[in-house]
Symmetry: C2
Subunit: 282 residues, 2 copies
């Protein structure tokens, strides 16, 4: 596996692959990889001839006061995992390689979409995500890019961005990967104390409950959200950010069960903010 820290190295290697007619899959990550990420690498390896993963804790998607500095990092372990899953190149740039001192260009969706759900408490987050993903698309020029359904709004935002800007990249969403007890895999799970780790189960429990109710034929969005919310509220360590139902494409709030609906939760367990979701298809 090639470890590249410079944009020029990535470009040269990808150009060599393309000259051979090989297709390239991109898995953008912030590192501290878990089975959620490696499932994306596995999928990329099935779909494409060559797999590029990026490991970059992107500062532009963090707001002041968020966990940019403390975000967990373990690049050696990341490399071991990536190599074991057949990744061909890992791009691991310094911040200065990605953002020059004069850099001022941003890619932003100027609709209500990025203001919903996580956007309510993180108003500049998706601008940072769109900007860094645009850059990674321009650096790696992949045929396909792979993102987890766990970050459902991010996936929807990137689909919108890629379509609007005519990126020649197919966006592939991949299923949530969970711990045995149900907790959605997340690099931020490492923040949890033992007690908090148990309390964090309310997220997946709420998601499973909502999914079950919808599967049983419940067609009242408020009933489903109410039951999910009630379950979470019973956990003393949990503080709800949102429990919402939105259109699966536009991310706008819905009241009726039709089309494709994203039921999404964001919950603070102590100081750690976790998210989870399920999609209902009518």
């Amino acid at each position: 596996m090639i470890i590249a820290t410079k944009i020029s190295e990535v470009r040269a290697q990808v150009a060599a692959w393309k000259k051979e007619g090989l297709t390239v899959g991109l898995v953008p990550t912030m590192g501290y990889l878990h089975e959620g990420h490696t499932s994306l690498v596995d999928r990329a390896g099935k779909d494409c001839d060559r797999v590029v993963a990026s490991v970059f804790v992107n500062p532009t998607q963090f707001a002041p006061g968020e966990d940019l500095e403390t975000y967990p990092r373990d690049f050696d372990h990341d490399c071991a995992l990536l190599e074991a899953h057949g990744c061909h190149l890992v791009f691991h740039p310094e911040v200065e390689e990605m953002y020059s001192q004069d850099a001022a260009t941003f890619v932003e969706i100027l609709s209500e979409m990025p203001k919903q759900l996580c956007g309510k408490t993180r108003p500049t987050h998706f601008r940072g995500v769109c900007t860094v993903v645009s850059k990674l698309f321009n650096i790696v020029t992949p045929d396909k890019a792979f993102f987890g359904q766990k970050d459902a709004q991010q996936l929807a935002v990137i689909r919108r961005m890629a379509e609007d800007l005519s990126y020649p990249v197919e966006i592939v969403g991949c299923p949530i990967v969970r711990e045995k007890d149900g907790l959605a895999k997340s690099s931020r799970n490492t923040y949890l104390s033992e007690t908090e780790r148990k309390a964090a189960l309310v997220l997946s429990k709420a998601v499973f409950l909502g999914e079950e109710l919808a599967g049983q034929g419940e067609r009242d969005v408020k009933q489903i959200l109410g039951a999910m919310r009630k379950l979470i509220e019973e956990e003393p360590l949990a503080r709800i950010d949102y429990v919402s139902a939105v259109d699966g494409v536009t991310m706008m709030p819905v009241e009726n069960m039709q089309g494709q609906i994203l039921f999404a939760v964001a919950v603070y367990i102590g100081k750690t903010r976790l998210i989870d979701n399920f999609i209902w298809k009518g």
Copy 2:
């Protein structure tokens, strides 16, 4: 010459060229082509194996009340000119092909740069420019893209954008092309009445005067700007938007003659807004 109206047609043709190892140059235009545009096509033909020109009056770079509807169009004449200058493919999409109904993503420079000069009266203009140029880069995936120095701020903005977003595209700026009497070539010159056409000469006269003063060793920016301004003010049909000296890269106002300075003018001749400029290098 291939005439393509669909993004997919452009992609297929460019992919075929790239498979042959051919390089591609892009000349983005809004049509109603003149020798300024064809000089870009000529240059692209020298630098690259294949030349793609786009002819698209981009609505997102016009504000309400500007001349989007009346902007001159003559696609047949454009095609004749492009073909005569060796263009291989012209991309001429409908607005709906470029912007879906749900499109909401924009590329924007969030610094003072796009607020200077033309940005003062056209605050959303460069956001529209950056967005459409990003899309054209993603559709055509050119090796190089060619822009006129006449739109100096646009050129600086696109250089900034391409660097910030890591576009694998070399931005090539090309000299201003002028009528015999000095007036910079512009599609908007067609708006001018016979009397206005004569009055419009104050722009190039002011530019030549400023260039002459700087060449003679004048090192007081205010003196140069004052002389340029005075010359324009003597023309009754002319109304100054700006006569400014800015850093050639950042577009920020300068007071001292050092580095690379853009002396730029924007002047209304009747209802028609025209621009012109020269660059002084220290």
